[in-house]
Symmetry: C2
Subunit: 406 residues, 2 copies
């Protein structure tokens, strides 16, 4: 049986889990592909020579992370005629088009299932099962760290800092969690999902994103009162004038398929007229889980008929998207406040769906749900309301996906 | 561009939806496969000649249903060197091995994504994404009719007959619903899923199944008290002595990924050590949704590298499986009843987890949850309890999947 020589870049949590899993399942890979897999070399930041590893490999597995070095390695591997499997979402959300084109031109496979939603096979389902469908929208919880933190805040009522500390203690968050909690990680994944769903050129710079650092236990408590769950949701959707790709903290109505996704799980909902919707969920993080997705891609890469990414078209990115919003304000507790806020909202065409007001001595918290309106209008209203004399802190807005607005 | 001539067998709900969808998406199929699709002939029970259609087709889509005629058509199509796509679970759960072997020997594609869980792409995910994983268990809600009926009974508190009538009114149940409500449809799908998950020869006769006709509003009310959801769950799992494949009404703990699957949706959870679990859900029925899965298979069939089903091995089917149970009894309301029942259960090694007793005049309803034990033991206990003088009707048992027993 021919050998399948795998050059492994990176030997952290996922890299070493991949090496273990490969050893355990080598017989199965051989059975499926007719080739005996072996690790022909391992490159870490401090050890190994990429050129030498490349020369002795049939396929490169890139798990070293970062952007610049990884780009060099993947580019060189493809140029040298090697199939590549990568879990690097930052790389693909920045340089995907160049690399997919390189792979397409040379008839090589560039697998990236592990880059998007952990073990959830959304890349394959979008590329293959749904290849014939006209997709309308993808919603995703694609970052396990933030989903764990929000689930923990919901479950225990604790604050953001405590939930983050717990996530770090359990290994769900890194010591520097900023990529996760700030939304950049989810944004990179949504850029890739949008590329897949719409065959549209999407760079991470096209993705608006916002993290969860500002979320308070109060927001979550209000959400519960309103029957909503708070999640960091990425959305890629086809609109009249183009597509929109964004990541925001979002209140979901209880029956939404993503509302019940708890802990560090990831989940993606794909909507199209012909299929209504499909939801897929599973663990988002974990070395072994990611390694399992990488192994699936390795098998696919050396099986006949690996599909190239179709060419992307240029599609306009819509910036001003219509959503419903939750609006949180701290105000002086005196008569006329609500009327003035309502007037400012009305000026921007915003209509109020529900209000909760709660006194806190001289101050009051005012929470509203606003019917769908363009984001630019909402921002204008927030500016105007923020300038009113009785406002004690800048109003905060969180997007709402409500059943009746869908 | 070469034509892709599709012979369509069957022109009911799915067949005509497929014809419409194909017309709408023909340009996309051409883009993806390099071939221009066209319907080269349609066979219905009263019109058309199969031999003639076969002669003028490159690929046969079998949506005519039934077993005997469908077997003849699919066999003849494969023998004539045509790729086949079918949505026929009864056919595959009875004659799958013969047909998969025929396809494998001739290097043909036999697609059947639409046979299992509607639009949920579980076949592809099992065959491809998870090809390298050692799967331990598959749980599925694979029948939309029964899930709708149970959801409706839960939502409204109505009885089985009313919920069935509502399902028929809305088109979720056929006028003769026996295949669905009796569990045979789900059993056929679970046979196919078990074949895929374990590469094991599984015939529908190997699948124990039970329907939902006996479920009462009382069962659902008790379940709610115990924090459980009632679903018709199919299970295929690897056990020490072989595999087990079965379909039963099942109480699920609230956090189980299948517990929140409502309406006519289908969902499948796949468990393996390396992936923990993946859950996929989506509409289980609907002509357009099934047609969409068929179209995905058509595209895959004419794309390079369609994978043959691996050969199946013979694996022992385990009959006596360990489960926890909910036990429902109607008894005379007098002292000593509970003690005698507990004694009979104890004799079979069954230990009681919780009890709810409710008086109804001279009678009482007694509901218990029993810790996991082999089914044979439970049946023996039921026989013994049923023979006790104070028992007013045969005890009923429903399987429980509880978090703490998992």
């Amino acid at each position: 049986m021919t050998a399948l020589r795998i050059g492994l870049l990176g030997h952290g949590t996922v890299g070493s889990a991949f090496e273990r899993l490969l050893a355990e399942r080598a017989w199965r890979v051989a059975e499926l592909t007719g080739r005996e897999p072996e690790i022909s070399g391992v490159l870490t930041r401090s050890h190994g020579d990429f050129g030498e590893i490349l020369e002795h490999s049939d396929l490169i597995v890139e798990l070293i992370g970062g952007v610049d070095d990884a780009l060099t390695y993947v580019r060189r591997a493809l140029e040298a005629g090697r199939d590549v499997v990568t879990a690097n979402k930052q790389l693909l959300s920045r340089h995907g088009e160049e690399l997919w084109e390189l792979a397409r031109e040379r008839g090589l496979s560039l697998g990236f299932e592990a880059a998007v939603a952990g073990v959830v096979p959304v890349v394959r389902v979008l590329r293959e099962s749904l290849a014939g469908a006209r997709l309308e929208r993808v919603h995703g919880i694609v970052n396990g760290t933030t989903n764990f933190i929000l689930s923990e805040m919901t479950r225990t009522g604790c604050g953001y800092a405590d939930a983050l500390a717990e996530a770090q203690r359990l290994g769900y968050a890194e010591s520097d969690p900023s990529d996760d909690v700030g939304g950049a990680d989810a944004a990179a994944k949504m850029a890739i999902l949008a590329r897949l769903a719409f065959d549209a050129r999407v760079h991470i710079d096209d993705v608006r994103f916002e993290g969860i650092e500002q979320i308070t236990p109060g927001d979550i408590a209000y959400a519960r009162e309103l029957g909503l769950a708070l999640k960091l949701v990425g959305t890629a959707e086809r609109l009249e004038d183009g597509i929109s790709v964004r990541v925001h903290p979002t209140f979901l109505y209880a029956a939404h398929p993503l509302a019940s996704v708890g802990g560090s799980f990831n989940a993606v909902t794909v909507e199209a007229e012909a299929i209504t919707e499909i939801t897929m969920s599973g663990p988002g993080a974990g070395g072994m889980q990611t390694a399992s997705a990488v192994l699936g891609d390795v098998i696919a890469a050396v099986s006949p008929g690996a599909r190239a990414m179709p060419e992307a078209s240029s599609v306009a990115i819509v910036k001003d998207v219509v959503s419903a919003y939750y609006l949180h304000m701290e105000v002086d507790d005196r008569p006329g406040v609500l009327a003035q806020i309502a007037a400012q909202l009305g000026e921007q065409g915003a209509s109020i769906k529900s209000v909760v007001q709660r006194g806190l001595g001289e101050a009051a918290q005012l929470v509203m749900v606003i019917h769908p309106l363009p984001e630019s209008r909402l921002q204008a209203a927030i500016e105007q309301i923020g300038a009113l004399g009785f406002i004690r802190s800048r109003p905060r807005a969180i997007r709402v996906i409500d059943e009746e607005f869908e």
